[in-house]
Each structure stands twice: as C-alpha cells, then as structure tokens.
Assembly symmetry: C2
Homo-oligomer: 317 residues x 2
C-alpha cells in the first residue's frame, strides 16, 4: 500500500507513558526520538502538556506529562537528523494552561493534539483554536466514539467541520471495540458530517485488530496514522509501527531503526511494564468497555489470567 | 456478522500439537473436546493420522500424530453432548496408510482433511478420493499458496474443481504473510478457477492478522473457518477461536466454555510451551518465509528476542 499523502505519527512515549505515569528515563525518550528520525517517521508525539499543580507534580506524574520546552529540546538536540519528525504534544481538556504555550515559531513543538470526549467538543475546539492562533498544526481526537450517542457525535463532527483551525480530525477506537466494518461505517459518518477535514485514526489492540483496523482506515481514505514502537500503549496497546511500516512500503520509511530500538530498548522494558493483547483485554474490547476494569483485573496477580471469571463479571447484569 | 452457512473448525489439538510433538495429555484433549462440544463448535480436528514406522513411533511423536480409533473414542466417550462436533483428522501426503482407515460408518471420525503443497496436488487428490470412497467428509488444504507459482496454483485449483470428492477447498496462509487485500485476491483466484467448491480458510498470526484475515475471508464468502483455542498453533499460532465466536454472533455458539478452558487449561500450558505473535514471527511473516528459521531463532534463548539481528540475517542477500 503506497499513498504519498499518508503520514505516520509515533505516539510511543505519549501512549506508552500511560502505563508507567510517564516515568521514562531520558535515554528511553532519546532512543525513541532517534528511531523516529532514522526511520523517517513524520510526527512524533513526545508526551502530554498538562499544567503542574499541587496535585499534579512532576515528581509523581513524570516529566513527559508536562513536556517543558527545555526537556523536549534536550531530546531533540541529542540526535542530528536531516528530516526530523514534527514534534507533537497532547492536550487534555480542563488540564492545560494554554497561556503558557509559546508561539510555535519559538518552540521545538510543531503540533498540538487535543483529546476530548464527544461531549467536550466545545472545550476541545477552544483549545484547538488557541493552538492554531499560536501557529501550531492541530488535531482534535474525539475519544471513545464507539460509546458516544450518535446524534451527539454527528453534532460534534459538524462543529469540527466548521472549525477551520482543525487540521486533522481523529477517529479514536479508545476501547479497542471496532471490527473493520465498524471502522468503515464510522469513517463514513465522519466523512459525511465533516467532509472538509483530513482524517486521522488511532487504534487499540484489544482484539488483535489495531494493525488490521489501521489498514482498513487507510483503505477508507485516512491519511494520518497513529502507531507505537512494539505496539506499546495503555492496556492492549496500539498498532505496532514496525508492522505498519512494512505494510506501507513507502520508500521514505526504513523499518530497521525501529527493530533496533525494539531489540535494544523495548525488550528489556518488557520486564518492567506490561502491554499488548491478552484474554482480559480481548473481552473488554468485545464488550466495548472502558479498559479500566480490565487494567484493574490485570493488576491483581491472583486473578490476572482468570478470563472466564472476568467474562462472567463483565456480563453479569 | 451472521451467516447461517458458516462453520467453525477447531484445530487446537492438531495445530497446537505441532509445538510439542503431540505430547498432549489425555486430560488436555478431553478438555478441548468438552469446550468444543459445549460451545457449539461444528468440527474438531483432533490430530494427524500418520502411519507408525520405525522412525515415526508413538512414543516419540505422540499419540495424536496417529489418531488411533480407540484413542479418539476414549476422548469422545468422556463427555456427553447433544450435538457433538464432527471429529476430523489430518492427512499428510506420503505419510499415511489409507488402507488402515475404517469406513466412516464404523469410525468415530467424520472428516478427513488432506494437507499438501500445490505441487503435490495429485497425491492430495488421490487421498481425498479414497477418503470420500470410505464415506468421509473431505477437505484439501493447499499449503503455502503464498509461495506457489501462480500457474501451478491455477492448475491445481482447476484439478480440485474437477474432483467431485472434494467437499471443501482451503486457502492456507502457512507463512502468515497475507494482508486482507491478499486474502481477497487469492480468494478471487480460487473462486475463478474452482467455482464449484465451497471454500475454507486457515490463517497464521505472524503479523497479528489471523483474526482479521479470517474476517476478510468471511466477507469474501468463505464458509469454513479454522481457529484454535487461545490461538495456539505452530509459530505465531492461529486465529483465536474465542475472538472469532465473539465476532460471529451466531446464537448456536457460546463462547463461555472456551474462556473456561483457557482459564483452567491454556493458562498453565503457557508456562510449558510458547505460541503467539512476537517480533521474530512478524518479520518472518512479512518476508513470506517458511517459519522454520523463525522457530529456530526463538528456540535459542541467547538470541530469541534479537529481532533486529533476525531482520538483517533474513534480508541479507
């Protein structure tokens, strides 16, 4: 599959950080940046940009939850690259301080992605507009669309379509609930009600479908694709970027630096934190549930593999 | 997805046995049979039917490589079931003794599946015909079609189409190399050159695509689907039957006995043998290679996770 407009966004650090409260060592983030550079990745999302508070401290929540300019600069300066990826950060509504954002021309960041639920689309669009005013590329990532009421979703899509400041509108399978036919039908809805927007897609691997659903999104015309090295990410994780690059066949990509990063950095990390498909996440995805119950179940060593019990609990009315 | 004609074939014991030389304890096979019965699985393949020789002994190769009538009967008699699955065995060309096969009416076996490479289709069809003469349901499983020369494949398909004794013709992704678009294009070829045959599909999970490719096969009209409990099978394993039953939504299926079997039997088994996706199999599948090099690599504890090295070795001309 080769289509020149397709861009790949590596959210290894941002989505992976959800597992360990963004407690990645700088060496890990540097290795991820180097892999993104050397493999020709278009955009690298390096963390969230929340504001520090008494509750949300850097010590407890990790520096990549806050993405200070100097911290990012330290990473970007660690590796020379002819065509470096655009650096992106993610905004969560109600947890940001937009007035602290530098104008894009003074920042090493080039893209701001705003994540919000469908019901928070007004707040999300406000953040998008302010980010665009400062000169950033922007996306709005509507989370958990599989759990939204369709009339709400349609209204949100129409609002997004009317906001010229939105560069990309994301379909996000937060619960890992989609089969390929749902990817197609949701994208149909997105294209119908937000026809002016370029689309992005963010998958989760609950049912071993993150990669295949990303392929389906490509077939259905999506040009911005999220993926992570080795599929790291919350719960069942994301689309594996190495599998995706193999699929894309675009000569601008080189998968070897990704596999090098996996061998040297991800393999040892697997001893510390867990991600990827397992039976519990498979059930959770099939039931279109928020992954919090599945994560809680996996966190208990006594019952973590008791998938039959989890199924009965989850379907007990 | 609901289509009444769709049948699910559980090859847990047969494909899983490729990992441990069919050294499953009877309790395991009984548990798999019970799960197949109670979940409404249509067909259960219980092993291979090779002939014993000085080289191929039951001690070394495990009883489910030979599938003696009494051994199967012992399993089937262990669990009462209103609508038991058809019991299937697999034939490998050049390793069978067809004269030892009982007529179907005297046997607990109801289906014989013949696996052969495209170049061995004549031998395969001979076995199919003899099996049909004895009254069995039959399939021919053309292995490694992704590595066959197309003119050879087309000729084989035409021969299969002319053999009225073949009930099902299988597309087999032996190397786990297919993306959904290849599933579609191969099935197109199969339908064009063997239009009279019902089709089956057997996936491997090298690129995390066994389940999604099986969905694609359904979309493209395939009505007999192979899958295994927890995806157990050689190398990266197969399509997970529990994910597939969730997808199919057919009221004749009940996924709960499968998850019960996973919790009670597959989880402990994972401590003894390995199956499922990993980076090495991902590379092997992408390169459309026989899994033997990947399996050898995984079997060496020193290098088993060295995916970058494996990629370089595998692409070194």
């Amino acid at each position: 599959m080769f289509r020149e407009k397709i861009k790949v966004l590596d959210c290894t650090v941002r989505d992976g950080g959800l597992i360990n409260n963004y407690n990645f060592k700088d060496d890990f983030v540097k290795a991820a940046y180097r892999a993104a550079c050397d493999s020709g990745i278009d955009i690298m999302e390096i963390g969230k940009k929340l504001c520090v508070s008494d509750e949300y401290t850097r010590e407890k929540y990790g520096k990549w939850n806050f993405c200070d300019e100097d911290d990012i600069k330290n990473i970007v300066d660690s590796h020379e690259c002819e065509n470096p990826p655009v650096v992106a950060v993610m905004y969560d509504v109600d947890r940001v301080n937009i007035s602290a954002l530098l104008p894009a021309e003074q920042s090493v960041v080039g893209m701001v992605r705003t994540a919000c639920y469908v019901t928070d689309v007004d707040k999300g669009l406000d953040l998008v507009k302010r980010s665009k005013d400062l000169g950033y590329q922007t996306t709005i990532n509507l989370m958990a669309s599989s759990a939204a009421i369709e009339t709400d979703l349609i209204e949100a899509l129409q609002q997004v379509n009317g906001a010229k400041e939105v560069d990309y509108l994301y379909l996000v399978d937060s619960f890992g609930a989609f089969y390929s036919e749902q990817v197609t039908s949701y994208l149909q809805l997105y294209k119908e009600h937000a026809p002016d927007k370029e689309l992005g897609f963010h998958a989760h691997n609950n049912q071993q479908l993150a990669f295949s659903n990303t392929q389906q999104a490509i077939i259905d015309g999506v040009n911005l694709l999220d993926a992570t090295i080795n599929g790291i990410g919350r719960g069942a994780g994301n689309c594996n970027i190495e599998l995706l690059l193999n699929f894309l066949k675009n000569p601008k990509f080189d998968v070897r630096p990704i596999y090098k990063m996996i061998q040297e950095t991800m393999v040892p990390l697997r001893d510390e934190i867990e991600w990827g498909f397992n039976d519990i996440y498979g059930i959770s995805g099939h039931l279109n549930q928020h992954p919090r119950d599945a994560m809680k179940h996996r966190a208990n060593p006594e019952i973590r593999d008791n998938c039959y019990d989890f199924l009965l609990e989850s379907t007990n009315d």
